[in-house]
């Protein structure tokens, strides 16, 4: 294998490792909220340092590859998109920390049903599938992740309205509900980040931006 291919493989494996930490944080966040468990919330915060370390390391790897290898075509697209995927993963870690910080503030539960848990698991699934699409070069999977965002947005909207209703019905729950609104907003943002990762995967594989598709056909001079 060429040295450059080895370096690209190392970058790819680094991103997979960083994504692995993100998935671990997502799982712990879901459990910390549901149980609730402050210990698991603390673990989420602890893992965030590893995400930050990965971000610095992988950013540098990308810059080195750009500077030393003059990449072109699919190599260039993969490195350029990696530079965008890495901060998306790092932000996912930050959002998990934001949720974990509120674990002690949202109990006892306000909402009946499992919509809140479903928001977490659907979001986690989007992140997992976006990373799988990156790892396995699977454009169909990346497209599916982008479509899933609508479902998460709808669930977020429903939960938001339910929480507003709860606050109107019982002013005593306003503080908990306010924290929960921030929790669901963080989940919704994580789903956006998974969508962004999937869009980068499509750029790597198809060579055209999958962002802002409503602008297609318009030229920007």
């Amino acid at each position: 294998m060429r040295q450059f291919d080895t370096e690209l493989k190392e970058l790819r494996e680094g991103i997979m490792a960083m994504a692995g930490v993100a998935e671990e944080m997502l799982e712990l966040t879901i459990q910390a909220l549901a149980e609730p468990s402050q210990a698991k919330a603390d673990q989420v915060n602890h893992l965030d340092r590893r995400m930050d370390e990965w971000e610095l390391k992988l950013d540098q790897q990308c810059i080195d590859l750009l500077a030393l290898r003059n990449p072109a075509a699919s190599d260039l697209r993969r490195i350029a998109s990696s530079l965008k995927i890495i901060p998306e993963l790092e932000r996912i870690g930050d959002h998990c920390c934001n949720i974990a910080r509120r674990v002690g503030m949202v109990h006892p539960p306000i909402l009946a049903g499992n919509d809140l848990e479903r928001l977490g698991t659907e979001t986690r699934s989007m992140v997992r599938r976006a990373v799988d699409a990156f790892v396995s070069n699977d454009a169909a999977l990346a497209h599916a992740v982008i479509l899933s965002d609508d479902s998460v947005d709808a669930l977020y909207g429903k939960l938001y309205r339910d929480l507003l209703r709860s606050m109107l019905a019982d002013p005593l729950c306003i503080e908990r509900a306010s924290h929960l609104i921030l929790v669901i907003k963080n989940w919704e943002r994580i789903a956006d980040q998974a969508t962004n990762i999937a869009e980068e995967v499509l750029f790597i594989l198809e060579g055209r931006s999958a962002k802002h598709t409503y602008l297609r056909g318009d030229s920007v001079e």
Partner: protein, 260 residues
């Protein structure tokens, strides 16, 4: 064969259709068709022996110094066939200048190198020649470096200066097309950078076709890039497309260094 799809505002300067080229029984180029637009830089890339330099030489028929050469198909300049259109070959070579891999100044003074072409075409008046020499040296970004030593031998110049002198020599006869065959391969990075800047300035008024083995150079200086392999055109497109999203896997493999 894949050719660019974007609209182009500059007219076609050189048009090649179904071109073939052979030395005796050895086929060098086959079935080549492409258009080269005026006031654009077109880079030809491809592995050694793919016919890039041969292709370049066909535009001013400089290959005709070799025996047993056969050229088929059409090559047109401004719509006139350069092989069958009754074009005077000396005039063709004035219109289509060439710069080679290794700087090859004549063993004469700097001034005489640049004045050589105009003299050949009958310019005798000293003041006119002085003007042409200064103009060509200025266009080649060399005037300020040599204006006080025009009578000195060109062989005393640095490699980069000699190459710019060769460009000035080509420019002195007011060409429409400049063919450059790996013009920087013998130069250091600073001299290379000067030639590349010069290419950017010259394309304002010239059609430039450059053969280069340096992929980054093709990316830096050209508007279009054509990838040749085994005497055939594999893909031609806007340079930015070739280097970000080539359409043919073979092009991708070549520019990412995975070829062969």
């Amino acid at each position: 064969m894949l050719t660019p799809t974007l609209p182009e505002t500059k007219p076609i300067k050189l048009s090649v259709r179904d071109m073939a080229f052979s030395y005796g029984p050895k086929k060098i180029l086959d079935g080549l068709s492409l258009d080269i637009h005026a006031e654009r830089v077109t880079a030809i890339i491809g592995p050694s022996g793919c016919g890039k330099s041969t292709f370049l030489k066909c535009f001013n028929r400089i290959h005709e110094v070799a025996a047993d050469v056969n050229v088929g198909g059409d090559i047109q300049i401004d719509g006139v066939d350069i092989y069958r259109g009754g074009i005077d070959v000396v005039d063709l070579r004035r219109r289509v200048g060439m710069v080679f891999q290794k700087p090859n100044p004549f063993p004469k003074s700097i001034y005489e190198n640049v004045a050589f072409g105009p003299r050949l075409f009958g310019v005798k008046d000293r003041a006119t020649l002085d003007g042409i020499v200064e103009d060509a040296l200025r266009k080649a970004a060399l005037w300020d470096e040599v204006k006080d030593r025009l009578k000195e031998s060109a062989s005393g110049m640095s490699g980069g200066q000699q190459q710019r002198l060769c460009i000035a020599r080509a420019l002195a006869v007011n060409p429409e097309v400049l063919l450059m065959d790996e013009p920087c391969s013998a130069l250091d990075p600073i001299a290379t950078s000067k030639i590349e800047d010069l290419i950017g300035e010259l394309k304002e008024s010239l059609t430039i076709v450059i053969v280069t083995h340096n992929m980054q150079q093709a990316a830096r200086v050209s508007d279009y890039t054509a990838f040749f392999w085994l005497g055939k055109l594999v893909e031609m497109d806007l340079t930015e497309r070739i280097f970000t999203t080539p359409r043919v896997q073979m092009t991708e493999d070549y520019i990412t260094g995975r070829f062969g």
